[in-house]
Amino acid sequence: MLDYIKSYLTSNLTPGSAGNMFWAFVYIVVIFLGLSVAVIAMNWLERKILAHMQVRLGPMRVGPHGLLQPIADAIKLLLKEDIMPAEADGFVFWMAPIFVVLAAFTVFIVVPFGPTHAVTDMNIGVLFMLGVSSLSALGIVMAGWASNSHYPLIGALRSSAQMVSYEIAMGMAVISAVMMTSLNQQGTGTLSMIGIVQAQQAQGIWFIFKFFPLGLIAFFIFAVAMVAETNRAPFDLPEAESELTAGFHTEYSGFRWSLFFLAEYSAMIAVSSIAVTLWLGGWLRPFPNLLTGAKWDLFFFLFPGITFLFLAGMCFYSTVRMPKHPLFRIQTIGLAGFGVVLGLIGLILFIPAVRERVQDIYWFSMKVAAFMYLYIWYRGTFPRYRFDQLMKVGWKILLPMGLGVLILTAGVGLWPLIQQTIWNR
């Protein structure tokens, strides 16, 4: 058994492709926990960042700077009465949140946090992610219908129409990126998430910069479509609180509601990971082929540790600025302790052996975190689209753009081949 466990460590495959069930299970558990923690952290960050954008403080009471607020929220949600409308369709009402969460979490099987840091490497990785995340639309439709109420029904209709529409533009953008994987060499094209990043590594360019500006446009299309796909501002019509109170989850409360919340945020992380994998080089550190040399290597070597030390420094700065009143003693100690933990993580990241193993995950997470910040930023800045305008953007702007980019990418990619054929004649 021990040999079985150890034998995987020497291989350079993901546990799924190596067929090692033990490590696959470990990875699944780690991803599940990590994702839950990420959603909780995202909850706190969103409230904090949004608050600071809106000249307010956000949560400040539960724990230092409201750090424990998400935990308090989680406890509140779990203890809340679970209400099911009398006229609701019980079974479907019960199934809907489970379905949504299942769809949102399943996609993480193929998310490549590093060349070996994924549960498995499917050769249809992107297709799998798009397909399974599109299943969450079904859950939303189920929730809206089962509630047997007008607002959820309209919310669900809006949501399903929106998701189906934007999936097409999204698919066009994705295909253009997938095409880029095979353009250096015939027959190397791949849909595998790991393969796509490796193709970027081999070609020495992130696909966002490839065939400038084609890659950029495709990325832009995806970036817009993914916001619509996850029902976030400015495309948050299915849950527009000023129009439909809360959209499809109006009748949900307590734990079931929190499942929808969990699913929404993990779906955001999932689509961001697709964007990062397809266009931003996945786990690769920024500009590995441009910023070369000993100096840059050292910089990127130290960078992960430095970010954590910086966060720790911010904690200590806030600790010093905490009120000196005895009431705040526990909070001050807590904040200092949090800072110490962050600092220790930072210091550990300086150890080369650890860094080697973890840096891929670090860069991947940083890129995804940038997308998460964008999501929050959008929410603080944009008003909400109206439904017909949303459809107009999806069908009349993004879809033709996507088709154009697809054709142009194919043309530009095949240009050398075409040229060759013409010259040879």
Binding site: T10, I124, L130, T190, L191
Partner: protein, 177 residues
């Protein structure tokens, strides 16, 4: 992949999963036609489609499985539900679910069953004993090469048909406005 020394376990417990998924498909299919509530029928159909996608995966056809999930479970079923949700449920509850043409249905079912049995017994030699292993890695490429190479004409005909259908749908919808 079989040569990989790290691969100590059998890939998947094939018969078990086959019967599990096949059973799910059957249960789903029966529920589709027996449920009075059309939304429940649609949900059962989704179960059937997902199980079918999994069976494709077991047949080392991941691309078809992915397309099955995206198109059928993700796309078409959402549109189905979209329409069904707008239908008045109370009315459909009152409708009779079965009609009197069971004789015709029986004959058709028997004929289809007979066909299956005939194909299975007569054509045994055509099918290989086991599913083709290790083509998984090149599956998508193979599908693509076949679709755009050997079956180009059929593919284009199919897409033309779909285009006509789309235009027809648009025209029919436009007339009513």
């Amino acid at each position: 992949m079989a040569a990989d020394p790290t691969n100590h376990m059998e890939p998947v417990a094939t018969p078990f999963f086959f019967y599990l998924l096949g059973g799910l498909m059957l249960i789903g299919g029966v529920l589709v036609i027996t449920r009075k509530n059309p939304v429940h029928s649609a949900l059962a159909l989704i179960v059937t489609l997902l199980a079918q996608a999994s069976i494709y995966l077991m047949l080392y056809a991941p691309f078809v499985a992915g397309v099955q999930i995206i198109l059928y479970a993700g796309g078409i079923m959402v549109l189905f539900l979209f329409v069904i949700m707008l239908v008045s449920i109370e009315r459909s509850q009152r409708e009779r679910q079965f009609n009197k043409q069971w004789v015709v249905g029986m004959v058709a079912a028997t004929a289809l069953g007979g066909l299956f049995i005939a194909v299975y017994t007569k054509g045994r030699g055509i099918f290989p004993e086991h599913a083709l292993p290790a083509v998984e890695a090149q599956n998508t490429q193979n599908v693509g090469t076949l679709l755009y190479g050997q079956y180009m004409f059929a593919f284009e005909i199919a897409s033309l048909l779909l285009l006509v259908a789309i235009i027809g749908a648009v025209v029919m919808a436009k007339k009513r406005i």
